[in-house]
Amino acid sequence: MGLTLIFGVLGIADFAHGDKMGWGMFLAFFIVSSEGANLGFAGGRFGSLSFGWGLIVGLLVAMIGVALISVVLERLVFRRLRVTGGGFFVFAIASLGMSIMLRAVVQLIWGPSNFRYTPGIHPAIEILGGIKVKPDQFFIVGITVLAAVLLYWLLYRTRFGKAMRATSDNPGLAEASGIDTDRIRTGTWIVAGILGALAGVMLGLQAEVRFDAGFRLLLPLFAAVILGGIGNPWGALVGGLTVGIAQELSTQWINTGLKPGVPFVIVIVVLLLRPRGLFGQVR
């Protein structure tokens, strides 16, 4: 959703989004790990979930941290590139550079190993038809839906969100209407950073905490955004689910090693049949 927001509002394909997710993942890890425990954050569990208050604090720290990283990178790089007249590809390549840099710093600090937020086995419970789901996964789905609802509310019900859409639609006219588009851009990066951090922490909770986990997810993310229609939060959600489910189901028929190729097939099919995506608007 963060990716589709940046793409839709600012017209930037942010290749660093995956690594911002990685930063969110590790900032939360820092809080729940032994370093955080020394500061008095870790401990406790909510019912049958695998985590407690520590991870909630970690999530907040991650959101603030990634939002800050996003704003700093915008000020240092994107704003300057925009002033000098950089186009779509300049932004994309710059974000690719940021991606490599962000990932390298994570690796420098935490190393290349895999971590978990909470050690031990997290048993799954059986729901309908023998499908097994971990309690954490209910939490993840719930938070994701909540984030989509909040993002929708922001974009369609608030003055700031409408100004974001106006800036996306017609930046020149937005400026001529007295909208401070620089502030709107900064705000968009903050919201996208918060969403990226949330996604990173959820990814860490679901799988494992690893320096390149966000980056590995980047291409499926782009596939989800294109499938859902660029700039549409619901589209990103549905696109993400579709890509994820398609990837998992594909292993019934194809070799598991070919799984990472599935998003690309989806993107090619979508671009051929419905280039604006499922929920995208014709411009």
Binding site: K162, R165, A166, S168, L173, D180, V282
Partner: protein
């Protein structure tokens, strides 16, 4: 005539998109609140560029602009808008992905209060837009889009409205309807400065007209003078030889 203060005054004005390459050459222009002033001229004469310069949307300018007696040279568009100037660009003048109401909300973005009330007032001026607040702007017809664009610009209660070719690409019926609306907006106390290709129709509604050629003001006169001048008629209004009667036209600041 009694001494009255112009709403807008432009003097010894030069401007363009690239530093050193002037598109506007030494233009002088006054607009009073109780008039509609129409700028006509051939394609590429710098009409739209002049309008952009007046609302502060041009990267380079020299000379003075003043608004309500205050020197506003170098002011940016948001500042001009806040000061009471409404601007409707020729193209891309609405937010197509947003609803009619949202377009008006964006037009009134700088309003501190009374947004809902103003939206209702503005919609009442444009019956075509009323009663369909959630309709997406992209679904409107060309004429309705122009009306929405004007409605958007009226959200901040401007005392001067700059319109860049409002009737371009409209059917003759829609052109008449729109010019009538512009006249009604003017009668509510808004000075109108517009650039027009459909010169004859626009001049009928105008108090004064200015002809621009090659970035300079070539001629200036009352709307009636313009319409009846054989010189203007032949060159810009598409009239044949012998049409129109000869009126004297005041020479512009041709340098």
């Amino acid at each position: 005539m009694t001494e009255r203060q112009p709403l807008l005054q432009v003097k010894e004005f030069f401007g363009g998109y690239v530093d050193g390459i002037d598109i506007i050459h030494d233009v002088a222009l006054d607009l009073y609140r109780d008039e509609i002033l129409t700028i006509i001229g051939p394609n590429g004469a710098g009409k739209s560029t002049l309008l952009k310069a007046i609302v502060g949307a041009l990267p380079y300018e020299r000379g003075t602009r003043s608004f309500q007696g205050e020197d506003v040279s170098g002011w940016s568009t948001p500042r001009m808008i806040a000061a009471g100037v409404g601007y409707v660009p020729q193209v891309d003048n609405i937010f197509t992905s947003m609803s009619i109401t949202e377009n008006l909300e964006m037009g009134g973005y700088m309003r501190k209060e009374g947004l809902r009330e103003r939206i209702a007032e503005v919609l009442a001026m444009f019956p075509d837009l009323e009663g369909r607040p959630r309709e997406r702007a992209s679904r409107l017809s060309g004429g309705q889009r122009q009306m929405l664009a004007m409605a958007r610009a009226l959200m901040l209660d401007p005392i001067m409205l700059c319109l860049d070719e409002p009737t371009a690409a409209l059917s003759p019926a829609a052109r008449g309807e729109l010019l009538g609306r512009i006249y009604r907006i003017h009668m509510s106390g808004v000075g109108i400065l517009m650039v027009e290709q459909n010169a004859t129709e626009a001049l009928v509604w105008s108090d004064r007209g200015v002809v621009m050629v090659d970035g300079e003001k070539a001629l200036e006169g009352t709307g009636t003078d313009m319409l009846t001048s054989p010189e203007v008629g032949r060159a810009f209004l598409g009239q044949a030889e012998g049409e129109g009667e000869g009126f004297t036209i005041e020479e512009g600041s041709h340098s």
